[in-house]
């Protein structure tokens, strides 16, 4: 889990550099963040395999497939949360040059940190949550099953 946690931090730094998501970088200079990401990723792989024998059967103390999947999920989750917290602290004073533009999702992290982005989204939600939700969830693709179920529900009413 520690291996996945650190390698997730590294992978997010590499991806954030490629996608220019400055709000997710944990160093101010993007190139430094990229190098740090590559370093953390390769470092965690080497640490994991060189520290002890990892090829152990699940009947002899190793992890079975389900435990591996759970470990990966938890490690990736912790790595993501750590990245968000650290990058929000480091980029606390990141300038917002596109204020007022309709930017949502990850695009907003190009100009501001995660904390400010989610705070802005929450204020929009709190302002008028009905309009907000209807705007977000209209025009979604609907499968045949979905259409069938909704038709049955409407008819039953």
């Amino acid at each position: 889990m520690v291996f996945v946690c650190f390698s997730t931090i590294g992978a997010i730094q590499i991806a954030a550099h490629i996608a220019n998501l400055r709000g997710l970088l944990i160093l101010r200079r993007p190139i430094a963040s990229l190098l740090l990401g590559i370093g953390i990723l390769t470092g965690s792989i080497f640490w994991f395999f060189l520290s002890e024998n990892r090829n152990i059967n699940d009947t002899a103390g190793g992890l079975d497939a389900n435990s591996q999947a759970l470990g990966f999920f938890l490690g990736a989750l912790i790595g993501t949360i750590l990245t968000i917290v650290i990058s929000s602290i480091i980029n606390l004073d990141l300038k917002i040059s596109n204020m007022g533009k309709n930017i949502d999702g990850l695009d907003s992290l190009r100009e501001q940190n995660y904390y400010l982005a989610i705070k802005g989204e929450y204020s929009l939600f709190r302002g008028n949550w009905r309009d907000y939700l209807s705007k977000q969830f209209t025009g979604l693709p609907k499968s045949i099953i979905y259409q069938l179920v909704t038709t049955i529900i409407v008819k039953l009413r």
Partner: protein, 193 residues
């Protein structure tokens, strides 16, 4: 067919101990952790790297599909494994086993199926990345035969299951809409997509 299967197995397994550098590389690539974890980390990157909303949406739907394909292929592999009950090659043959000896059945190779499932889905929206994932899956398959825990036909069948798992995934994706899109929308509200 079985003869050819055994011939390839013996040819690869006999390489053990002849090339120290190859042995050292295989000790890493055969691991349950390295290649599967690297592919999943690549999926985390794919989730984030789309340069605009449309590309990102298709990539994220792809990540969703890849994880589903991985689960489906693993399920099919488990099911077939229980039905066919083929013993591991080191049980029936005198092989050099430099990996731990798994206690479950050999056919088909579950980890190879999962890796090829991810690669097959990714190659539908990003050919270069998909191809490199296929190469990684191929390395895993080669390593598994090299260390004597699978027959070549096990890994071949695993790869086929993995590739074919994209069919039920796309049917499932179409049938479960708007759930996947809703999930991505919620993630977008939380600034995670």
């Amino acid at each position: 067919m079985l003869n050819l299967d055994e011939k390839i197995l013996f040819a690869l397994n006999n390489l053990n101990g002849k090339y120290r550098s190859l042995d050292a590389i295989i000790a890493w690539t055969v691991s349950d952790y390295l290649i599967p974890v690297c592919l999943c980390l690549a999926l985390i990157c794919v989730w984030l790297v789309g340069h605009n909303k449309t590309t990102r949406y298709s990539y994220q739907l792809g990540v969703f599909s890849a994880l589903t394909a991985m689960a489906i292929s693993s399920g099919i592999a488990q099911l077939l494994s229980g039905l066919i009950e083929r013993p591991r090659p080191f049980v029936t043959h005198d092989l050099i086993v430099v990996f731990y000896k798994p206690t479950d059945f050999s056919f088909p190779a579950n980890s190879v199926a999962a890796c090829f499932a991810i690669a097959a889905v990714v190659s539908t929206f990003n050919k270069k990345l998909g191809l490199s994932m296929f190469v990684m899956g191929g390395i895993l398959a080669f390593s598994r035969v090299y260390v004597g825990v699978h027959y070549p036909s096990d890994v071949l069948m695993g790869a086929i299951i993995g590739i074919l798992s994209i069919i039920p995934v796309y049917i499932l994706l179409k049938l479960t809409e708007p759930m996947p899109t809703c999930f991505i929308k919620v993630a977008r509200i939380l600034r995670l997509a």
